[in-house]
Symmetry: C3
Subunit: 287 residues, 3 copies
Amino acid sequence: MIRSLLFAPGNRPDLLKKFPRCDADAFVIDFEDGTPEPEKPAARRELAAVVSYLREQRLPGLIFVRTNDASSSHTEADIDAALRTDIDGLVIPKLGAVAHLQRFGQALSEAERLGRRRLALIGIIETMAGVMAAAQLAAGDDHLSALSFGGEDFISDIGGRRTADGLEVLYARSQVVLAARAAGLEAIDQVVVDIRDDDQFRRDAAAGRNLGYTGKMCLLPRQVTLANEVFSPTAQEVDRSRRLIDAYDAATAEGRGVTEFEGLMIDPPLLKRARAILAVASRAGRK
Amino acid sequence: MIRSLLFAPGNRPDLLKKFPRCDADAFVIDFEDGTPEPEKPAARRELAAVVSYLREQRLPGLIFVRTNDASSSHTEADIDAALRTDIDGLVIPKLGAVAHLQRFGQALSEAERLGRRRLALIGIIETMAGVMAAAQLAAGDDHLSALSFGGEDFISDIGGRRTADGLEVLYARSQVVLAARAAGLEAIDQVVVDIRDDDQFRRDAAAGRNLGYTGKMCLLPRQVTLANEVFSPTAQEVDRSRRLIDAYDAATAEGRGVTEFEGLMIDPPLLKRARAILAVASRAGRK
Amino acid sequence: MIRSLLFAPGNRPDLLKKFPRCDADAFVIDFEDGTPEPEKPAARRELAAVVSYLREQRLPGLIFVRTNDASSSHTEADIDAALRTDIDGLVIPKLGAVAHLQRFGQALSEAERLGRRRLALIGIIETMAGVMAAAQLAAGDDHLSALSFGGEDFISDIGGRRTADGLEVLYARSQVVLAARAAGLEAIDQVVVDIRDDDQFRRDAAAGRNLGYTGKMCLLPRQVTLANEVFSPTAQEVDRSRRLIDAYDAATAEGRGVTEFEGLMIDPPLLKRARAILAVASRAGRK
């Protein structure tokens, strides 16, 4: 469960090597907008060393690489470079077509056939095409573990303007979270660009959580702390998850195959979600 | 036309027998969430006596039974029990698939072949699957007379949180009313769970009416009074309906087959709606 | 680029002949709601003289005719009369079906085969059917240059009520602008019926611009001035467009076939939009 997804530029090893000081659930080494065009090849060459360093430091969060988007000549080289390192997955910017998503899925499948452990994909929906196709994209490839909504790029694509209350993106933001959650994916909410306004971040994060988002993209460590607060499970959710797992364990110990918990059949998705909530709560508790 | 749809638990004959004291346009005997699991069979057995009592008391509103949802082992028994009594229709909770709706439609069609008068279905859209399929569901079976939106269950299904302004359900609530009204169905809005806050109920009811909802689910008689106020036709609507029916009656008396009213052809749906408005206004006037 | 689309009744030559006093980007001679039923034939007969007069006056904006809607017996005669005059296009009210749009497209194609210059279509989405089919309508005919959203008629069709904040139409208004802009069309926002409230017009225009709308329907010249202000390109947009065109011109002069501008390939749509922005800015500057 990703409450906070922190981005840093792929051409800034100085910043990337600070990831271990931060409590994000997932970290993104950004080859797209974060890395200027002339520096993209060098960033790719340095990736392996950066990832090795982060693994040696036992970075507790997941490590992702954001490749360039479908229209770029860098994308194939980005994927190749990323799959030669020990990352957890790829982030696809400006995801708008199922075929493009499946190109990424195939690259992962090929790597898996060669012995690579399973990787995840996070697709960012931040164009008009992506918003309109959100439901198809959510079901487009088995590697997809989350959809993210990029409000800034979306409003730029449609030619609108961002406001503090966000009504101009409510339709798109609602459509993306619905598509993601209905397909059983995590849903990661938009960035807040005013990096000094903690209140605006908290308000925007709470609005996203109310809509059903499960986490938020972050631009710096300060936002990670706030996102982790807003998206942590409540005491009630933690308690319920613990009781559900206890009921399941008891049933298993007694040899009962199927069990019920407060009127619901305990099926694998329910169990998985309960365990994820406890894992997050355990991380939050260690702080 | 249902301005107010009042729910009471199927295992509480003491409450069900109070229906005649209340002015709801439709009453729901609830076998789903309102009736605890262990008491569901007994509630089914007592249904016939309860419905007979309400008919003897000449309850002016419609009588519905809410069955359990598609995932329950009770649903078939609920339908069978309900169709052996003199009810006006069934309420389907957590409606998310056209096939499930049609299972209800077929049960009604079979009963009609055996001489039963025509019954209505009300489908509650309160899951992510239901919201996404709202347009298909609205056209899914001829017995369907209304779609209802369940904001509480929807936000629980998507993993969000409810707020007073309701922006977190605006997309789903808008999609459901559009699907319902475009298919010519009534649209019944979400409950307000804070049963002591009349202002919140009035605000939420008005917001629903503004969106195009034609009525509201109610949790107790106090809410029925408020819903009837907010969803009653205006004096202007009543006046226009009376003039339309007068124009139609005059044309019929003169042997003219087809007639026009203020630029519109008077077709059966227009006439039906005008009569429904007068019927509701007449009920409201008797109070 | 249409920032302001001013309507006047087709049966009021006195008002139509005042168009040259107003700075709208496009003018609509309205045969639909603006012209009472008994006067529609006479309005059609007078159209040619009105259009000739406006052309003689060198009206700087585009001239459109709004025909009656799909259900009317006037529509064919409206199209015929309009295509015999020197207009720039047709406005289709209550557009709800692709077949209806294509009927208009075919009439234009036939006229073009006979030597008529290419005309444009603007479709107004203002019914439930239109909102639900917005994406298909946006791609329904090559002549379509803009979709417009009619909030008043939409809310009347769905049986809701309009409010100042407009939350009751946010879903429909968002769906229409997304469909239009994703198909590369202009998007023209709803009217404001309170013609004396400039602040309400400005707020509503800004909300539309934030959503991605490119212009607004206007009921009188006062609203045209406000719409032109709100929907004019910013100094930043004008500057960027000028630099893009300069880069393209320099590349062309040097015989380079394809060129890049700030990381984007300069393709025909980008060039066209930049030129349109400069043209609008030039008009705005002349005021």
